[in-house]
Symmetry: C2
Subunit: 216 residues, 2 copies
DNA sequence: CCGGACGAAATTGTCAACAATTTTGTTGGC
DNA sequence: GCCAACAAAATTGTTGACAATTTCGTCCGG
């Protein structure tokens, strides 16, 4: 009963466990395919097994862990093939978002995207792949946000969470940022021009290139 | 996805509760926005609250129920706007599946689709909108299946589950089957011709028409 | 030496009681 | 008569113990 993590305040146990576990997986603290024993996790996070269990069910639905009846949970390993299939889904969904965004953005939002574009240029010129990767992620997030497509955004966040490991791998590949940069700038330009079809095409071209890069 | 709807056999309590509750919601037995009290459900299905609770968490992740902290669960109501947004996601994802299917089907699968096409023709001619609706659903399912895109299929099943109510409403609209039929036949033809781009275009045209029909 | 049956350990699934929270109905003051 | 504080009821969140299932090591027979 000594609840180490503030018993009364704010977050409830399940949400807390969910957040911590999710972060741990996304951060890579948990090795791929690592077994997730409910008792261990419960002790580690200072919550009870029921909370961990609820969190695991949630994470299974998000595709981050795999659960087998009476056999336990493990962090899901995303093969390259799966990563490609996931990115194909991203391709069409982000294409949709880009088209909708191009039709809906206001001037301030366009300026925001262009700022991101110059920042990305700088990051590539300075040879900082990690900064570039972050900006990359933020650009995609902003476009989704500006599209106002709540359903699509939800699906995409689910999909993206499954790709963290692959994203890292991709970002550190030499020469990759240069190619990626041009594609991103094209996306920004198309949206800035309020051209839905061009925006969708640009996103598709970009993610097609990502798929090719993934296949090595 | 571990849920094919067999609520009879030696399933475990949570899976049983999940199946029954899911069916009840999809079947429309639960009124929209109806409150789902854990105790009542537990008694109704003859399982304990813990199982119901686990099932509810699952259903929340599937987008079928809404849960608010300390306030309980309710069957989620999908507004027309949301239905449109969901169908827009279906549009791009099913387009992807159709393109992949067109590139991957074998002769037997094509024959299967064409059989469905003639059955649909017959159902429309006979004025049986319910039969037609079922065939419609099966056609979409088969195309997804033949595409081999596991990730996309998973997303689409999630999305479709949220639309049951609207699908019913749409199927019974006079004149709708006729228009829908032609679009479906075009999809079948494009896939039979192994033309990915035409298949994607046909699916997009069909679902665009569905979106327009939804907006009344 | 190998294969299958048996049993113990580990792990998840289920249960009923308890605590915390929100909602609702009521009472008192203005 | 209306609003706020308060108390009671309903409902969800949490806890620890118990049951069912699977896994793994061991032993026996061939």
């Amino acid at each position: 009963m000594p609840n180490q993590a503030r018993p009364g305040t704010g977050e409830q146990a399940k949400q807390l466990a969910l957040g911590q576990l999710r972060q741990a997986i996304l951060r890579g603290d948990m090795a791929p395919a690592q077994r997730l024993v409910e008792n261990e996790l419960a002790e580690q996070f200072g919550v009870t097994r029921a909370s961990i269990r609820a969190a695991l069910i949630d994470l299974e639905a998000q595709g981050l862990v795999e659960r087998i009846r009476n056999r336990g949970s493990r962090v899901r390993v995303v093969t390259v093939e799966e990563a490609v299939a996931i990115t194909e889904c991203r391709l069409v969904l982000e294409g949709l978002c880009a088209a909708k965004a191009a039709a809906a953005v206001d001037d301030g939002q366009v300026a925001r995207l262009q700022d991101l574009g110059t920042a990305m240029r700088k990051a590539v010129a300075a040879g900082e792949p990690l900064t570039y990767s972050d900006l990359n992620h933020e650009l995609h997030t902003r476009i989704r946000e500006f599209s106002g497509q709540r359903t699509a955004v939800e699906l995409l966040e689910r999909l993206n969470a499954q790709l963290v490991r692959h994203r890292f791998q991709l970002a550190l590949r030499p020469g990759r940022p240069q190619q990626s940069l041009n594609e991103h700038l094209a996306m920004i330009e198309a949206i800035g021009a309020r051209d839905p079809q061009a925006a969708e095409e640009a996103v598709r071209a970009h993610l097609t290139s990502v798929i090719e890069a993934l296949r090595d």
